[in-house]
């Protein structure tokens, strides 16, 4: 019981993921700034922003549905944090795992987006409503290629349990090379999940102010921003676990460091991707996802099916 609580609340649960998320935000912003020939924020910037927001006045619009407005950020954060508990990153005995957990994780990752939608919708601001509609519209576009490319990797490993998937690729590291297409597809799709350029359409500030988050302030906004940071870490960790789970190879502390390094690498790639493109329009985004990303992930699926046929034979 005590160990379980420790796992959930402290390591590698809530506290660790939150701190990691805030550090990841700093890392992401720093890389982004350096790519743009700027200095970027100091290391404590994300913490300072978070603490400042916690201390700010928390306003609920009169017209908003208070319960929904209140619960949406909490739901979003909890589900994002929960995913991290299931991701096998280093050799630790505390990871929960069961057959089919990879599917559950993907759905848990969808909950924050839906929570943003609900929070935005019930805050009754025009900008927030437009943002939340865009949020869900976008969800249907990037979710399919993301799921397909992650699941096709699992398909090759012949299991729906992430631990087993990771174990498979650890055993046959060369097979992970075949998944490169899937990795890049999911990398781009994750940008949609994180609502970052070129897919920051739901919170495009020059169009709809802060989109979904327009009416949020103070503590609730702090939680929402933390959620995005945690999502970034969790998304990156998921990609690492599914495609390159090599940290499992090492012993505890070294393994942990390698895992963190790998996650940072994925975050750096995400930062690079968003540096070199402009924001797409929602119709262009959906076109891109269905006409470019989906065919690539289908190709990945096909490739893995063929490989798997060979594997069984």
């Amino acid at each position: 019981m005590g160990l379980a609580l420790f796992t959930i609340l402290i390591f590698p649960g809530f506290l660790f993921v939150s701190v990691f998320g805030l550090m990841a935000e700093f890392f992401d912003r720093r890389i982004y700034a350096r790519l743009q020939n700027r200095v970027g924020p100091p290391w404590f910037q994300a913490f300072a922003d978070f603490i400042k927001l916690l201390g700010k006045e928390d306003i609920v619009p009169c017209a908003a549905n208070e319960k929904m407005f209140d619960f949406a950020p909490l739901f979003a954060l909890t589900s994002a944090v929960t995913v991290f508990l299931y991701i096998p990153l280093w050799k630790a005995p505390v990871t929960f795992s069961f057959n089919g957990d990879i599917v559950m994780m993907l759905y848990l990752l969808t909950i924050p987006t839906l929570a943003f939608f609900i929070g935005g919708w019930y805050s009754r601001s025009l900008y927030a409503r437009l943002g939340s509609v865009r949020c869900v519209t976008q969800l249907f576009a990037y979710e399919v290629p993301l799921f397909m490319s992650i699941l096709s990797s699992a398909l090759l490993a012949n299991t729906w349990e992430l631990k087993e998937v990771a174990a498979f690729y650890l055993k046959h590291p060369l097979y992970s090379l075949f998944n490169l297409v899937g990795f890049f597809v999911s990398l781009i799709a994750i940008l949609g999940k994180l609502e970052k350029v070129p897919f920051d359409i739901p919170e495009a500030e020059t169009e709809i102010v802060a989109g979904t988050f327009t009416e949020y302030s103070g503590r609730r906004l702090a939680i929402l921003r933390l959620t995005i940071d945690v999502e970034m870490v969790v998304g990156a960790a998921l990609l690492v676990a599914v495609f390159f789970p090599f940290a499992l190879y090492f012993q505890s502390v070294l393994g942990f460091l390698v895992a963190v390094l790998e996650i940072c690498g994925v975050i750096a790639l995400l930062a690079l991707l968003r540096t070199i493109v402009a924001r797409l329009r929602i119709d262009q985004m959906i076109n891109f996802c269905w006409k470019v990303l989906v065919p690539f992930s289908l190709f990945q699926l096909l490739l893995n099916l063929i490989l798997k046929g060979k594997l069984i034979l």
Partner: protein, 122 residues
């Protein structure tokens, strides 16, 4: 059309020094020709008040403090740093410096008596 056209450019800058000036931690010098705070040569002033007349924002005043002695008071909050007074002055009693760090927390301190040097003591 090439997606990611700027890729090479941004990657190159990852290893370059950022272009940001770390002002105010590192001081930035304005060119010598910059029009900043004024200095006043009291010995040259004859009290004709041409500067007062030409000032577009009414920032400068010349007060008589004694026999043939004048002081110039400048409201830094009103001054638009056009240096028209410098051009207007027939005796070259006014001069622009490149001192631009003039912000004050107390608005009363914005009203200064101009001196021979542009330091904060004047």
């Amino acid at each position: 059309m090439r997606p990611g056209k700027m890729l090479r450019e941004v990657l190159k800058h990852l290893f370059k020094k950022p272009a940001t000036n770390m002002y105010p931690a590192e001081k930035l010098d304005m060119p010598k020709t910059y029009r900043g705070k004024l200095i006043f040569h009291a010995d040259k002033c004859i009290g004709c008040k041409l500067c007062v007349r030409d000032c577009p924002s009414g920032a400068i005043t010349i007060n008589k403090i004694g026999e043939k002695q004048f002081e110039a008071v400048l409201d830094l909050g009103k001054c638009i740093y056009c240096a028209q007074c410098v051009d207007s002055c027939l005796k070259k009693a006014l001069e622009a410096t490149n001192d631009v760090e003039l912000a004050q927390l107390d608005s009363k301190k914005l009203k200064v008596v101009l001196g021979e040097k542009s330091g904060s003591s004047s």
